[in-house]
């Protein structure tokens, strides 16, 4: 035990192991993305690369509020890698996806974290923003119809809230009183567009009332606050209280994707948010509250590094998918599409 002479009481109803787990998931998220940056620079990532730097608490803390033993399901966005890891996606799966490997969860068909495992509890997004809110309505509707005590959670960005699909989805969920939590990530930007060009309200949570759903808000860079606010919403959903729109205030510290140099953002703004880095902050909190020792945390860091290194080593030289596998599985019932006539010439 380090400097903190006395341990503060454990927060948010979490055990010490869970507190360390939160740290682990955030660290894993960040380190995995950093590794992906390195691979991207080596042109080993096939497409674009998207970062959640500074938003790890938001993704991890909210996902952690779900109950994996009950079969809760979430639908992540591009900056919610952390939430998928919490639900059981593994680093090697993510690496394989980005590198378009034959053995990636989508067999090289879809990119980055667009992949699913309903058994583990995540339903990957498609690019078209907003749609997943409606799809998660259906997932939550199945819980309601079958009277299962399960909860759905879907993320939505400040930008994506401008889509018609978001509106139709949240309204549908509200009317049906579905067990759904909608996590609105206010990270200041949608690509280059600042939030005031996206909506005329200051806070996204102001939209809750117009749908007749509960609204709540938290500091998205405080993983325990994120956990608590989401947990309240999850509990409400599970107990039949319907939808909650949870706003998490955070900040996108990198560009929209790696290619975006963020020229449209004042340097000081980024620096100010760097000072509020969710991992640094949680690390200090753990130490000063006496919930974890430096050694505990270093052990986690080491574990993360070795897990990622092992995953990279394992998959780096794996092959791309065999070309003709591209034809399988468009329909359940039909055989694979025929080769075009000229291919056989």
């Amino acid at each position: 035990m380090t400097t903190a002479a006395r341990k503060a009481a454990l927060p948010a109803g979490l055990t010490r192991a869970q507190l360390l787990e939160l740290y682990y998931w955030m660290r894993l998220t960040r380190s995995l993305e950093e590794k992906l940056v390195a691979l991207y620079r080596q042109t080993k990532v096939v497409g674009g690369l998207f970062r959640s730097l500074g938003q790890e608490a938001d993704a991890v803390g909210s996902a952690f509020a779900l109950d994996r033993t009950k079969g809760d399901i979430l639908s992540p966005l591009i900056r919610n890698l952390g939430s998928m890891l919490v639900q059981g996606a593994t680093p090697i799966e993510v690496l394989r996806q980005y590198m378009a490997k034959a053995d990636s969860p989508t067999r090289g068909r879809e990119l980055n974290i667009h992949f699913n495992d309903l058994a583990r509890g995540y339903l990957g997004q498609i690019s078209h923003l907003g749609d997943m809110v409606t799809v998660m309505c259906g997932v939550a509707l199945s819980f309601k119809i079958r009277k299962e005590p399960r909860v759905g959670l879907v993320y939505i960005g400040d930008g994506a809230m401008s889509t018609g699909a978001f509106h139709e989805g949240i309204n549908f969920a509200a009317v049906q009183r579905l067990p759904l939590v909608i996590v609105a990530e206010n990270n200041g930007y949608a690509y280059s567009t600042p939030i005031h060009k996206q909506t005329a309200v200051k806070f996204l949570v102001e939209k809750a009332a117009g749908y007749g759903v509960a609204g709540d808000q938290a500091d998205g860079n405080d993983v325990l606050a994120v956990y608590e606010v989401t947990k309240r919403a999850v509990d409400r959903a599970r107990s039949g209280g319907g939808v909650t729109l949870v706003e998490l205030i955070t900040y996108r510290r990198k560009g929209h994707a790696e290619h975006d140099n963020q020229g449209y953002v004042p340097k000081e703004e980024i620096e100010a948010w760097e000072a509020r880095d969710p991992i640094d902050r949680y690390l200090r909190q753990l130490e000063t509250s006496g919930w974890a020792s430096r050694a505990d945390l270093s052990a986690i860091d080491a574990r993360v590094t070795s897990e990622i290194d092992a995953a990279v080593a394992q998959c780096e030289n794996e092959p791309f998918p065999a070309p003709a596998t591209a034809l399988d599985g468009v329909l359940a019932s039909a055989p694979a599409a025929d080769l075009e006539w000229y291919r056989s010439l």
Binding site: T106, R109, S142, K144, G164, A332, S333
Partner: protein, 325 residues
Amino acid sequence: MTQVTYLEAIRDGLREEMERDDRVFMMGEDIGNYGGAFKVTEGFQARFGAERVIDTPISEVAIVGAAAGAAHMGLRPVCEMQFIDFLSCAYSILTNYVATARYRADLKTPMVVRGPCGGYVRGGPFHSQNPEAAYLHTPGLKIVAPATARDAKGLIKAAIRDDDPVLYFEHKFLYRRIKEDLPDGEDIVTPIGEARLAREGAHLTVVTYSAMVFKALEAAEVLAKEGISLEVLDLRTLLPFDEDAIVASVKKTNRALIVHEDTRTGGIAGEITARINERCFEWLDAPVRRVCAHDVPLPYAPTLEDFVLPQTDDIVKAARWMVAY
């Protein structure tokens, strides 16, 4: 045997599947207490409860999206579009999310989207559409369009049992105009992907579907008196359509006329022509031709609508020309 209308056949098919499989449920605007704009689901909410017959807000994207999510979880949703013209609102989620779900992510998405299509009822440009061409182009979807009461029933049942997303286009002109005797107690299931030979003939193959089947049959009657024998093929499934049946017929008659109610440019007839041309080139004694709606939004006035949409006489004229070629 019981005489049923095309509409009743759809209703019976839906009801039987709801009874057979408790994973089947419905969503749509005004389908509950009201029974739907055309009363297809009349009495369903009373019979199956409000959780299996869900009145939704006016939100076509949410209806389709929620159906997909529920389908992933093992349910079998059937969505009603109040008019199929409003399916366009869900075009993006249908073509991007639903159609690709299996391919990109191994997600099971058994769901049906059905609704009234078609003209000849003075519905104007937004209550008369035939949207098949917009979806024909989407790998991962199936499309069916029944002409007879038997197929209306058989295809809705097949669509619900199918493991892929199926668009089911029911023609509102046929709803109460087509009546057929159907056997009681038979589990009528029309296989998706198989055309039906609506009339055997020797001189010209008419490839068509939905309400146009009856216009083609009328034309065949007229022409029979002139010694011209039309073979009428009712596609029933538009995606994937029964290429083999078309090819077999065209190789027999050596002539093909494609008839659809949809506008000409970019309609499904183009695709069918291409397939015939690819597989029957040596057999063709005349160019493949089309009888379709004119390339305009469908106007409201009877004189205009009748002019724009294909009529029996158009088929008769076109067929005479082709046989004389």
